[in-house]
């Protein structure tokens, strides 16, 4: 194993949105070629490719992408890991370097969802004679969604939020403030799917999807791709000074899954594995929450972002409601969170999300984020979580100025 650090030397993402005229490979190619160009390298310099995608995962899109950007015979890994798919692809690329198999690797995340609507809510075909018969591991005789509670995404993350709210006294208005902030942030991000500011009142009075989340408190489905080029410490030392000075260090890369818990058997526990990932990442990086200049976290719903303030140790224990009220996670605040607009407005093409947040943080650490730049950002954290569950946390650091 190589003991050295792994660095991001190139990164790119497409605009997120709905692009009926571009297929999955168009999006993946745009991100991959953009990241290679940003790294001042070419596909011939890449020793491993990891491709993250969820909804077309059985199409071997890594190899299909090679046919667009270069078939060089390198190992290709097709990765799927729920909403942590992109971040997991990054880890596969990173592990290839850490294992000494290559010194330069490319990770690409891509998704084409269009307007899928409520995930998991598709109607089943009818027609056959209805005859109750126990099926599956629960011996169920009919579809239990909506009859024995809800397991769809809006409801799961709403219940995660109210569990925290019942314990710590968070209000519906405090949850709504998260969406107010992220939609306001998105106005400055040209790559965001939606760039529309909403008033707190508009958010609270919008259609309720699953209380306390209203429509602007739920992320959209969409299309998009993002990519990073990673290199080893040793490789970085050989590169052009202009590439070196823009390099961003991956100070921690952690992936966790759910440890057993009783309640977690019936309602996904999105907190415990996030806490474990964050704690491990802080320890690995030798940094703490106070060292962070910005955070991109997994705000699939406004309720999720609020509880992750606590899970990622950004606020006092139990104090996530006070944290949003204080203005701390706004772009001008003490610890900006989701200055990209977050999943709520930047969008959430599932396979791309975990790389797009690395793009966002790396771009700030390079001082290249334009109108939305967090001034003087040196350290940032990214977080994604996918139900099943998988949680990835990365901590990135800018390369100190003046180092050759």
């Amino acid at each position: 194993m190589s003991a050295g650090d792994v660095w991001i030397i190139g990164t790119a993402m497409t605009k997120f949105g709905r692009f009926p005229d571009q297929d999955l490979l168009d999006l993946a190619s745009e991100a991959a070629l953009g990241a290679l160009k940003d790294a001042d390298t070419a596909i011939t310099g890449i020793g491993a490719l990891a491709l993250g995608n969820v909804y077309e995962a059985n199409s071997h899109n890594g190899q299909r992408l090679q046919k667009q950007i270069g078939q060089t015979g390198i190992p290709v890994y097709n990765v799927v890991n729920a909403c942590a798919t992109g971040a997991t692809a990054v880890r596969v690329a990173l592990l290839s370097i850490a294992a000494g198999e290559t010194d330069t690797a490319l990770a690409v995340g891509v998704e084409k969802m269009g307007k899928m609507g409520l995930l998991g809510g598709a109607a089943k075909n009818k027609g056959a004679k209805k005859q109750y018969e126990p099926k599956g591991r629960y011996g169920s005789v009919l579809k239990t969604e909506g009859v024995l509670g809800t397991g769809l995404m809006p409801g799961v993350f709403a219940q995660a939020g109210t569990e925290y709210a019942l314990r710590h006294g968070v209000t519906a208005t405090q949850f709504a403030r998260v969406a107010q902030k992220n939609h306001a942030h998105s106005v400055l991000n040209p790559l965001a799917q939606y760039r529309k500011e909403f008033s707190l009142r508009e958010i609270l009075e919008a259609e309720v999807i699953a209380y306390p989340n209203t429509l602007p408190m739920c992320c959209p489905t969409g299309d998009g791709a993002a990519a990073v080029v990673l290199v080893s410490d040793a490789k970085l030392k050989t590169l052009d000074p202009d590439v070196r000075k823009r390099a961003v260090k991956i100070s921690a890369s952690v992936l966790t899954s759910d440890p057993w818990s009783e309640a977690g058997q019936v309602q996904p526990d999105v907190s415990t594995l996030t806490r474990q990932a964050a704690d491990a990442a802080y320890e690995k990086a030798g940094l703490g929450p106070d060292d962070l200049d910005l955070v991109e976290l997994h705000d699939c719903f406004a309720t999720a972002e609020l509880i992750h303030y606590d899970n990622l140790r950004l606020c006092e224990p139990g104090g996530a409601g006070d944290f949003i009220d204080s203005g701390a996670p706004w772009r001008e605040g003490k610890l900006p969170v989701n200055v990209s607009g977050g999943l709520l407005s930047k969008g959430h093409p599932i396979g791309a999300t975990g790389i797009a947040n690395l793009y966002e943080v790396a771009t700030h650490l390079r001082g290249e984020a334009g109108d939305r730049q967090v001034a003087g950002a040196k350290v940032g954290l990214t977080h994604v979580i996918g139900l099943a569950s998988a949680c990835a946390v990365h901590i990135l650091e800018a390369r100190p100025a003046g180092v050759a």
Partner: protein, 134 residues
């Protein structure tokens, strides 16, 4: 009376109707679904354990935009059962978030969730607010 079948096999239609979980014989972890081995300790032997019909609300949501053919709004709750076990179901008597307070005591109730073409009724379960000292 129509023939009845529980909506899931962990609902037992006795008198009274109640939930029954698979319990790991090594570590006592509870599961509503069939497991090949215990996710907590790896044990492979399971017994059955009857769970309490009383519990407290741990989390909730009121679903307004539901899956097709599911009537909305409805309230979904996660309930910690007295004496062990956590279950998800609907709260049957309110869709008002202000009516749900921390640790709200609830008790199990059953209802007809559907009827098949042979006239067999599927019996579902949910929870109602418990009247203390009633």
């Amino acid at each position: 009376m129509a023939q009845q079948i529980p909506i899931v096999d962990y609902l037992v239609l006795g008198d009274p109707a109640h939930l029954e979980a698979h319990q790991c014989t090594s570590c006592s972890a509870l599961y509503f679904d069939r497991r090949n081995a215990c996710a907590k300790c790896g044990g492979t032997e399971f017994g059955r354990r009857a769970l309490s019909n009383d519990g407290q609300v741990r989390a909730f949501t009121i679903v307004h935009r539901a899956a097709p053919s599911v009537p909305a709004p409805y309230t979904s709750v996660v309930v910690d059962l007295d004496g062990g076990g956590t279950v998800k179901a609907n709260l049957l008597d309110t869709t008002d978030p202000d009516g749900i307070t921390p640790g709200l005591p609830v008790t199990l109730d059953t209802f007809v969730a559907g009827t098949d073409d042979d006239g067999v009724e599927a019996i579902g379960f949910g929870y109602r607010k418990r009247k203390e000292n009633a």
